[in-house]
């Protein structure tokens, strides 16, 4: 089955509400990404004492394979911090970045210049620092989102993995895959000038569970079916 047909099959894939999504709804989801990632970028900037830039969020409805392409394709090695969101509007969240850039962040955080995530075994302090960085960033993303929507959102303890994008993101899609073959991704990229000339960038992927969309829209006073 080709991808175009896939898109036409929303209705049959447990995603019938997608037909009701208007440009207004997509703008709201963009704003959700904006507020969350904006807060996270500020936290990162404070932590590293560096200027961090953020791109305009992108909201996409994608089959799983194409979702992996956002992270560079299934075999690209990425560092990813993954957590489940529990509470009023369940979902999943990833903070994804290339290992070289994760190392760059952690070098600046810890002042250890020889930290690397290229080949194991990784130093324990580096892994722990990266996990904490993910914890702080995803936490600030979610608390901004929770303030904005006045929804009760509780993050699980974030888990870290440095491996192929297909393997890590694929495992994070399990919950969603029981309901649908498509992911709605709110993708926000951040970047900043790192050490020397390295360019640091990462992505926040927010993947609300399908039943959470109506809850998010309702919390902001927008009906899904008007």
């Amino acid at each position: 089955m080709n991808r175009e047909e896939n898109r036409l099959e929303w209705k049959g894939r447990g995603m019938s509400f997608l037909e009701k999504l208007s440009p207004l709804h997509l703008d709201i989801l963009k704003e959700v990404g904006n507020i969350g990632a904006g807060n996270a970028a500020t936290a990162l900037s404070t932590l590293l004492n560096k200027k961090i830039d953020m791109e305009v969020p992108d909201v996409r409805i994608l089959p799983f394979d194409e979702m992996l392409d956002l992270a560079g394709g299934p075999e690209t090695i990425i560092a990813s911090v993954f957590l489940r969101i529990c509470g009023d509007a369940p979902g999943s969240m990833f903070f994804v970045l290339p290992p070289s850039q994760a190392a760059c962040f952690i070098q600046q955080m810890t002042d250890e210049r020889d930290i690397s995530f290229e080949s194991p075994p990784f130093s324990e302090i580096a892994v722990s620092a990266l996990q904490e960085l993910g914890n702080i960033l995803t936490g600030s993303y979610l608390s901004a989102l929770s303030d904005f929507t006045r929804l009760n959102l509780q993050p699980s303890v974030p888990a870290l993995s440095i491996d192929m994008a297909g393997a890590t993101i694929g495992s994070g899609l399990i919950e969603l895959s029981q309901v649908s073959d498509l992911a709605i991704v709110i993708d926000t990229a951040i970047s900043g000038v790192g050490l020397d000339t390295n360019f640091v960038n990462g992505h926040f992927f927010l993947l609300p569970d399908p039943e959470s969309f109506e809850i998010i829209f309702a919390s902001l006073g927008v009906a899904t079916n008007d």
Binding site: G14, L68, E75, G166, A167, G170, S171
Partner: protein
């Protein structure tokens, strides 16, 4: 004359069939399981990239057969038989089912890798297909490629090199 060798790619929750000289490949197996079913004499093989153990987990209204261990393997065997493979000589090789994230709380969905492997074993046993070799579990992603001519399965893991089973 040179044969143009293709690598047939199988995506997430997808399946396909291969004949020599082509090979078949799926990338980035994490908690998912890659199952190769083959008939060595007829030189035909099928590969399924399975995401979930059981089609009764499905909450959606339409079914993607290739996503679940039970439906994917039955469908794969049916398609192989249509292509001339013989049920009674089919064998299988499996890889994947890792646990990519270590969570302290025991959410059942977080041990989906081992559950996928169990479900694949059970379904293959139902279909009376023997697993001749496997590389499952652990906490690393795998990319696998099967050659239907030699019936060997190449498995690549990040930072751990390549193994052939």
């Amino acid at each position: 004359m040179t044969d143009l060798v293709k690598v047939i790619k199988v995506g997430i929750a997808d399946m396909n069939i291969v004949r020599p000289p082509d090979t078949i490949r799926t990338s980035g197996l994490g908690s998912c399981v890659g199952v190769v079913v083959f008939d060595q004499m007829m030189e035909i093989a099928g590969l399924a990239h399975i995401m979930l153990p059981d089609s009764t987990l499905s909450k959606g209204s339409q079914m993607n057969m290739a996503k679940y261990a039970d439906t994917a393997l039955h469908e794969l065997v049916t398609r192989l038989m249509k292509e001339g493979a013989r049920n009674f000589v089919m064998k299988a090789k499996i890889a994947g089912g890792a646990q990519m994230f270590q969570f302290s709380n025991g959410n059942d969905l977080m041990r989906i890798g081992p559950r996928n492997v169990e479900a694949v074993r059970a379904t293959l046993a139902d279909l009376r297909i023997r697993i001749v070799s496997e590389d499952v579990g652990g906490n690393s992603g795998r990319t696998i490629e099967f050659n239907p001519k030699t019936c060997m399965l190449n498995i690549r893991m990040v930072n751990k090199g390549m193994i052939v089973i």
